[in-house]
């Protein structure tokens, strides 16, 4: 990479390696903003039939897959049926949450004006009601991306994911919290959309707005659970128990998968976090820059991108949250070129590498900062760690 950069006459050397933006002048930052605005306009002007056909095709395929898998699970007593049905349903649920639900609720398809595929009408296969998710995700997370104390996605309020966050003994357990959160991720999302931690404190519990939203969540949980754990098992007759375990497994697989993908978006090494004060009076260019530095991509095949809901293009998604997801891959080369021209670190890597990187951070940051260095030194001297690092190329940047 460095070799490529130095061959380019339009790229200036980095001034201060500690601050990844130190070499950029205010004018540079505003030019980045202008370039990205122009890119956005290009995509918007060319949205059309092809894109509409794409999302309709994905929705149709997902519904057929879900229907087919559930039909196969009616006979889940037979192990091959259980396996095939569970695999199909897991994929269907992942598609529904990621490429379809997440992106529709971002308003990526609102321009089609189809009331059936619209952010204001879509309800997803997840215990978090779409209204609440849209608020916490679109308004809080996407606006305050990686700003410590503002962006709840950053550690979901239960984890320390930046050495700039203050350490408490509670964080010692964070590898465990993170694993439990991964298994029951949809409930984790619902809880933090409800801001459960804050709202369960005395005095807030009786807030009528909180109670209304809590009721809404409970209703959604009931409906989701009735479907997966009562109605479909009952429909399966003698296969009832097997269908129940199949549905539980599909939900678990979906939870683990979405959790991993989302962890890869902002946790891996190389991704920056920001101080609350750094966003005061932020310009459009600075906002873009924060999104560029605060997100990480996942590299992989087209199927992989589809299964991540194109959140594998997390950088592009954070720059343009409401552009159709099928366009992120198309603009990625241009975005990457912009990173290179302005000497910024485009964080990307295959899924196993990014997941490992995120988990490493979670383990290390469960300890106070001074202990982290000691542990890191110890790990670095430990032969199996070297081996592992070789395997994943480079979990941590130099």
């Amino acid at each position: 990479m460095t070799a490529v950069i130095s061959e380019r006459p339009d790229v200036r050397p980095v001034a201060d390696p500690a601050d990844p933006t130190a070499h950029l002048s205010d004018a540079d930052i505003e030019n980045i903003g202008k370039e990205l605005d122009a890119l956005r306009e290009q995509v918007i002007a060319s949205r059309g039939e092809r894109d509409a056909a794409y999302i309709r095709r994905v929705i149709e395929a997902q519904r057929k897959l879900e229907l087919g898998s559930r039909a196969v699970l009616l006979f889940s007593l037979f192990p091959p049926a259980w396996l095939a049905g569970t695999a199909g349903l897991s994929i269907a649920k992942i598609l529904e949450n990621m490429e379809i639900g997440h992106n529709i609720m971002h308003g990526q398809w609102d321009w089609m004006r189809d009331p059936k595929i619209h952010s204001t009408t879509w309800e997803w296969d997840n215990v978090s009601p779409s209204d609440q998710w849209k608020h916490s995700h679109n308004q809080i997370h996407h606006t305050y991306t990686n700003v410590i104390g503002k962006d709840n996605d950053l550690g979901y309020g239960i984890m320390r994911v930046s050495s700039d966050q203050k350490w408490y003994p509670f964080y010692l357990g964070q590898p465990l919290w993170n694993f439990v959160n991964a298994c029951f991720f949809e409930f984790g999302i619902a809880a933090y959309d409800l801001e459960l931690g804050k709202n369960l404190q005395a005095g807030r519990r009786d807030d009528p707005d909180f109670r209304r939203r809590a009721k809404q969540v409970l209703r959604k949980i009931r409906r989701q659970a009735t479907k997966d754990y009562v109605v479909h098992p009952l429909l399966s007759g003698p296969s009832a128990l097997h269908t129940l375990t199949a549905n539980f497994t599909a939900n678990l697989v979906r939870n683990l998968w979405t959790h991993s993908v989302i962890m890869c978006g902002h946790f891996p090494y190389g991704v920056d976090t920001f101080e609350r004060s750094s966003i005061v009076g932020e310009t459009r260019g600075q906002w873009y820059l924060r999104q560029m530095l605060g997100s990480a991509n996942i590299s992989g095949s087209p199927f992989m991108h589809l299964m991540t809901g194109n959140l594998s293009h997390q950088i592009e998604h954070h720059l343009f949250p409401d552009l159709p997801s099928n366009r992120y891959g198309e603009i990625a080369p241009k975005v990457r070129d912009l990173f290179e021209r302005y000497q910024l670190n485009y964080v990307t890597g295959p899924l196993p590498k990014q997941v490992a990187s995120a988990w490493r951070k979670i383990f290390l940051l469960s300890l106070p900062n001074n202990a982290v260095e000691q542990v890191e030194r110890a790990i670095d001297g430990f032969p199996p760690a070297k081996l592992l690092r070789g395997l994943f190329n480079r979990v941590r940047p130099a």
Binding site: D110, Q139, R223, V231, H232
Partner: protein
């Protein structure tokens, strides 16, 4: 065969309702209908849709679409219009078109006839790009541009361009019930007359008296000439449909003669007369804010911003587009009247004929 009587039928209905509720538990969070739509989009219980089955050219820039409506179609009265939703370049667009088919057609199909407008999004799509077998969205027929019963003794149809469409709908259905019909129709040239052959045939068989005005040659029709063309026009029940200029002139002429209550008009677009300063428009439910000029209807502004705007005729007659104005000011484009709302008021406005008159907040 046994006929279901009251209580049995009631039991069946409640059984069906219960089955539907269970089905919802099977498919939640989507609806059973979302799955059924993939297989049978035209079934009676579905949102009303239609399938374009045939497309026939009428003139060089007009076509007739023959549409198979879904099972929920409730029929129409000749002269009424139907709203059609088509996806043009991936974007759902709704427009109104007058029904030109027989109301009692044996095959259950309906037809509309569309003339391409310069730069018109939907009309050009339908005339030049749409293909048979396309699924479209429909709404039930509406409108009161229809013939009364008993039928009038003497009728005059005053039309121009695509304005012939609702009139053709009436003639095809009721010409035999009308004793004395005059059709005065304007089009640039003879070949531009939509349904020209059929109208001339009706004239040849003396079912109507047809006066064609070819404006490229003879110039625009001046209603001052009307006495010379249809001497007894003031005695006739009149239906007029065409461009704004023609309709405005007709209203003037008929009211000058004191017979304006015999004149029925159908407008295809609102007559915008007043525009002004625009402002920032917020669609609060969708959480979208955009800048709008003072001439663009809020309906268009919202649609362009991806807001799900309810709509109907798009020209101020059906009230299908009404939404609460929560705050701010809007201008009625037809007369310049300003409507204001204080926070929380929720004054109802017609978005298709209202534009921003400063900052405003629409509850959509």
């Amino acid at each position: 065969m046994a006929v279901l009587t009251g209580p049995t039928r009631g039991a069946f209905a409640s059984l069906r309702a219960r089955a539907a509720r269970i089905a919802e538990f099977v498919t939640t969070p989507v609806l059973p209908s979302d799955y059924l739509d993939m297989i049978s989009p035209l079934r009676a219980s579905a949102d009303l849709r239609g399938r374009i089955e045939e497309i026939h050219p009428e003139t060089s820039d007009a076509v007739t679409l023959v549409i198979r409506p879904g099972g929920g179609w409730r029929g129409h009265v000749p002269g009424q219009y139907v709203r059609i939703g088509v996806d043009v370049d991936g974007v759902r667009q709704w427009r109104a078109y007058s029904l030109t088919s027989r109301a009692d057609s044996t095959d259950g199909r309906i037809s509309v006839t569309v003339k391409a407008m310069p730069d018109g999004v939907v009309s050009n799509y339908l005339v030049r790009r749409a293909r048979p077998d396309t699924l479209i969205q429909l709404d039930q027929a509406k409108g009161d541009f229809t013939l009364p019963s008993p039928r009038p003794g003497k009728a005059l149809f005053l039309t121009a361009g695509s304005g012939i469409t609702p009139v053709m709908g009436m003639l095809r259905n009721a010409v035999t019930e009308l004793d004395d019909v005059v059709v005065v129709h304007s089009a640039p040239r003879s070949s531009d007359v939509i349904f020209g052959g059929e109208l001339r045939q009706l004239a040849a068989t003396r079912q109507i008296r047809l006066v064609e005005r070819h404006t490229d040659v003879e110039g625009m029709l001046d209603l001052a000439e009307l006495d010379g063309i249809v001497a007894d026009w003031a005695e006739r029940e009149t239906w007029a449909c065409g461009p704004t200029g023609l309709l405005d002139a007709a209203e003037q002429r008929w009211s000058d003669a004191g017979v304006v209550d015999q004149l029925h008009t159908e407008r295809f677009r609102p007559s915008v007369i007043v525009t002004g300063e625009g402002g920032q428009v917020t669609f609060s439910k969708t959480d979208t804010t955009v800048d709008a000029d003072g001439a663009t209807p809020l309906l268009d502004t919202g649609e362009r911003a991806g807001v799900l705007m309810p709509s109907g005729c798009r020209m101020g007659i059906c009230f299908g587009c009404v939404a609460p104005l929560r705050d701010g000011a809007v201008r009625d484009l037809r007369n310049g009247e300003i409507t204001m709302a204080a926070p929380g008021d929720g004054v109802l406005i017609q978005t298709c004929v209202s534009a921003a008159a400063g900052t405003c907040d629409i509850e959509l």
